[in-house]
Symmetry: C2
């Protein structure tokens, strides 16, 4: 048995095409162009690359975007001042502070300072709370992208047992709180396992849908997967690779060669969850624009 | 085998004694008496009885308390005005709007209007979000009480498989988000099951700790429990009882007679989770008083 590949790139392109179309209609009717601001502090190469990719997506969508670069030794106050300015700027509907921030900066304080209606990352406590309560909110991009990936690839989680490995604030916890809701594209029984679990396979082997999001390269092997299960690999681990031109390559949290022989369907890395995150960011930016200045 | 009884009344009394002592020290040092306001809309007998019990607990603690009664046909504005007044009142550190509210009132709007620092029920989106993110917050009383009950009865959830049945905003979802955290008294693998689950016993039989919180009298029978498991019954269902003087009695979501023969430990109804809710409300009120006007 060889698992079917879930093509995240293709599904992300579908979503981006929908966003572009809705955005053009919205512009025609209301005269508003969605605008997204990026805050990039320091010169972490991975962060620079992410912001570049997101900026490029904004161009594809016809969105307005600005990128503000601040030095690595910036004060908390200078970042808060910038956010305050962006909060008031009516041409901007989304504000994305690229994480991680340098050590001297309190991330919690920075994220909470963003107007939650412009929090297109869905990290503000008000958005997190509303998500849990089943209220309208901006939802975090990767978890919302995982839900879209499942539904659009024909693996509706309703009534299924979803097992998530990893309890981060940006993936594990929000995807849990999305998939357990009594809503379309959710309504799953959900288990969240993590480093405190002891033997992980006690849980992973139960999964109809297994979501690996612990940031541990190749940790989930074929032996830990129930035959026929759907496997979503959220890992994006940069590991050294002397053969690659760059000297490294990206690998997931799932050991693909053994998993592909057991799973029924699986996302590749790269080309699985990654592209979905950017597509959902575009969707959130349009949504913020549509609701913010009505 | 007969399960050990987990005595919620006794543990709640321990917590209330601790709260009273800390409160007296706080008063001696800072001159502040914790104050709690109750908002009771309409004349639902159960709501009246709950508010009476909570008010009595405030008296025991030596707290200041006020109860504002509004008619069932009150407007949303009149409740919002009252909350706005309580938000500003420096003698009050907690505001509790007894739910459910009459149909013409938007509960979400009312709860969100409470200053989240006075939200001793822990229902405000900011508190819910912070809870999920692992940040300091006021935590909902019943879920926090369940955690205390487990820890103080010698059943630390760390490393255990906790299965919750029921996904309400006031019990299932918050107890899930408390017990999965990498924190003392938590760090459990948690599964949340519900009406969308199909056969519930597929999940309940896996539980080292089973939390029944679906509001379905006697739904969890002994056959659905793993031998030796810890069973927490959050149900408090009023059912007719011709033998009782009042004409009704309270029963849990667990079928006690069959469960007690299989479980290792179990909470009774009444006298299990119920008393914990009020004890934790007192604890939250003291905590709000200690942090609010520093």
């Amino acid at each position: 048995m060889i698992a079917a590949l879930i093509d995240g790139k293709k599904i992300a392109d579908e979503i981006k095409a929908e966003v572009r179309e809705s955005s053009e209609q919205f512009r025609a009717v209301r005269g508003i162009i969605p605008g997204l601001a990026f805050v990039l502090v320091g010169d972490n190469p991975a962060s620079q690359s992410y912001v570049r990719m997101k900026g490029k997506a904004c161009e594809e969508m016809g969105f307005h975007s600005v990128t503000e670069r601040l030095p690595a030794d910036s004060s908390e106050k200078s970042i808060l001042d910038l956010i305050s300015r962006f909060n008031k700027d009516t041409r901007l509907h989304g504000i994305l502070v690229q994480l991680p921030l340098p050590k001297q900066i309190n991330e919690e304080k920075i994220i909470t300072a963003i107007d939650y209606r412009k929090d297109v990352d869905g990290f503000h406590p008000v958005n997190v709370g509303r998500l849990v309560l089943g209220q309208k909110c901006l939802r975090p991009c990767t978890p919302a992208g995982i839900q879209e990936l499942l539904v659009r690839s024909g693996h509706d989680p309703a009534g299924k047992h979803v097992v998530i490995v990893g309890r981060s604030n940006i993936v594990g916890k929000p995807v849990l709180n999305i998939l357990l809701q009594k809503q379309q594209g959710a309504n799953a029984v959900v288990t969240i396992a993590h480093t405190g679990a002891g033997d992980l396979s006690r849980y992973t082997l139960q999964a109809d849908i297994l979501i690996a999001a612990m940031g541990n390269p190749g940790c989930i092997t074929g032996l830990m997967i129930k035959p026929g299960a759907v496997v979503i690999d959220v890992g994006s681990n940069r590991i050294p690779d002397p053969v690659a031109k760059s000297g490294y390559r990206f690998t997931g949290d799932v050991d693909f060669p053994s998993a592909v022989k057991v799973a029924g369907a699986i996302t590749p890395v790269p080309g699985g969850v990654g592209p979905m995150t950017i597509a959902m960011l575009m969707k959130n930016t349009l949504e913020a624009a549509m609701t913010l200045y009505q």
